[in-house]
């Protein structure tokens, strides 16, 4: 069964109904409907060293948490609330994972001291601490603390010169267009609609989303320019999107 794309009012009503009866089935439905967002955010923060698969799990659980905690009275849109919550979960995941960046030893040691210091200060103060408060507790300069916080960030958003910022699964990409689709429907429709594409376009889509090649690599393989591959990809995806939205 393919849930059709719902308007925000209808989604809001479901949230209110869920707030009322806390029916798991509604929760599951709401989660499924917004999975595209979780996948988008996971892809967005995919970094060298942190595989997309792990992040997607963290983001998905973050989404479940968002649905469970969303308060319709608060006047915030769900997607904003969920984005905040999911980013928070992703941040926590990265924090637990350790270092990707080489940093001077003193910064690494300082960073290790920051975690416990921030935790104990947060408990003491009943709120997150400020940098001066942390600096005083660990006995370092404010500048060093800021530097250590920066060096410890593994969740850096996709860097500027990564040639293909647009990676991730095809269904999550198409899911952005219509987050109402469930994953099994995606695969079925995808198989059907791929068959309608000319062979060259089909090859390019497979190389991109199944093999995970970059546009340049695909270009080298099929003997076209990267610009050409880019245009063909865009056109094919637009076509697939058409097929998806027509079948809802």
């Amino acid at each position: 069964m393919t849930p059709s794309a719902r308007n925000p009012e209808s989604v809001r009503e479901t949230f209110m109904e869920y707030a009322d009866n806390r029916d798991e089935r509604l929760r599951n439905q709401l989660v499924e409907e917004h999975l595209g967002l979780a996948h988008q955010l996971a892809r967005r923060f995919t970094n060298r060293g942190e595989p997309y698969e792990d992040l997607v799990q963290v983001a998905s659980i973050g989404l479940v948490k968002s649905v469970e905690r969303f308060d319709t009275e608060r006047g915030v849109e769900f997607s904003t609330f969920a984005t905040r919550t999911i980013i928070g979960e992703l941040k926590r995941h990265f924090r637990d994972k350790g270092w990707a960046i080489r940093a001077p030893r003193r910064i690494q040691e300082l960073y290790l001291a920051l975690g416990p210091a921030m935790e104990s200060l947060t408990q003491q103060l009943g709120r997150p601490p400020t940098v001066p408060e942390i600096a005083e507790m660990v006995g370092a300069s404010e500048e060093s603390v800021l530097e250590a916080l920066e060096a410890g960030q593994r969740y850096r958003a996709t860097s500027i010169d990564v040639p293909d910022r647009q990676d991730g699964t095809l269904s999550s990409r198409l899911g952005q267009v219509d987050p109402g689709y469930s994953a099994t429907d995606d695969r079925l429709l995808l198989a059907l609609s791929l068959a309608d594409l000319p062979e060259r376009e089909r090859t390019i889509i497979e190389l991109r989303f199944v093999e995970g090649l970059t546009q340049s690599e695909i270009a080298a393989q099929v003997g076209l320019s990267q610009m050409h591959v880019s245009r063909l990809l865009a056109a094919s995806l637009a076509q697939l999107r058409q097929v998806f939205s027509q079948s809802s």
């Binding site: 798991e24 089935r25 929760r27 599951n28 989660v31 499924e32 999975l35 698969e53 997607v56 799990q57 963290v58 998905s60 659980i61 973050g62 989404l63 479940v64 948490k65 469970e68």
Partner: protein, 139 residues
């Protein structure tokens, strides 16, 4: 054979009793964990609701079981009536911990609604999930 039990009042607190005339029998939503060592495997059996209130207890027991085990830990969720995101987080944490310890986690789950949330969040790809104890312990 070692057996450890923890009983805690969970969010939905109806308890089973011997039904009197006219009294309805309710499902026991009270949270509980017990541990069983069987056939060289550790089986952690959970029942009731696993949510914000009870997930920390689950984490404690699971992590402890993972640390002590030298092979497989079976997480028996077949009597779980409800699961939320904190519970899912605990399971993920336990999975990571078991990876570090060289232990294997096997989950028993057959309640459709709970399997559903595992499917939606992609956890069916991460975990080895079995519908019954028999299948989980089969060689």
């Amino acid at each position: 054979m070692r057996s450890v039990s923890t009983d805690q009042p969970g969010a939905g607190q109806a308890t089973v009793g011997i039904p009197h005339e006219g009294e309805r029998v309710s499902v026991d939503h009270a949270f509980g964990i017990s541990e069983h060592a069987e056939d060289g495997l550790l089986r952690v059996a959970v029942r009731g609701e696993v949510d914000v209130a009870t997930a920390p207890t689950l984490r404690e027991h699971l992590y402890d079981a993972v640390d002590r085990s030298s092979g497989v830990v079976v997480v028996d969720l077949s009597a779980v009536t409800f699961i939320d995101s904190t519970a899912l987080g605990v399971l993920i944490g336990a999975q990571e911990r078991s990876r570090d310890h060289g232990t294997q986690l096997r989950i028993i789950l057959n309640e459709a609604r709970i399997v559903k949330i595992f499917e939606i969040t992609g956890l069916t790809e991460l975990f080895s999930i079995f519908p019954t104890v028999a299948e989980a312990v089969a060689p």
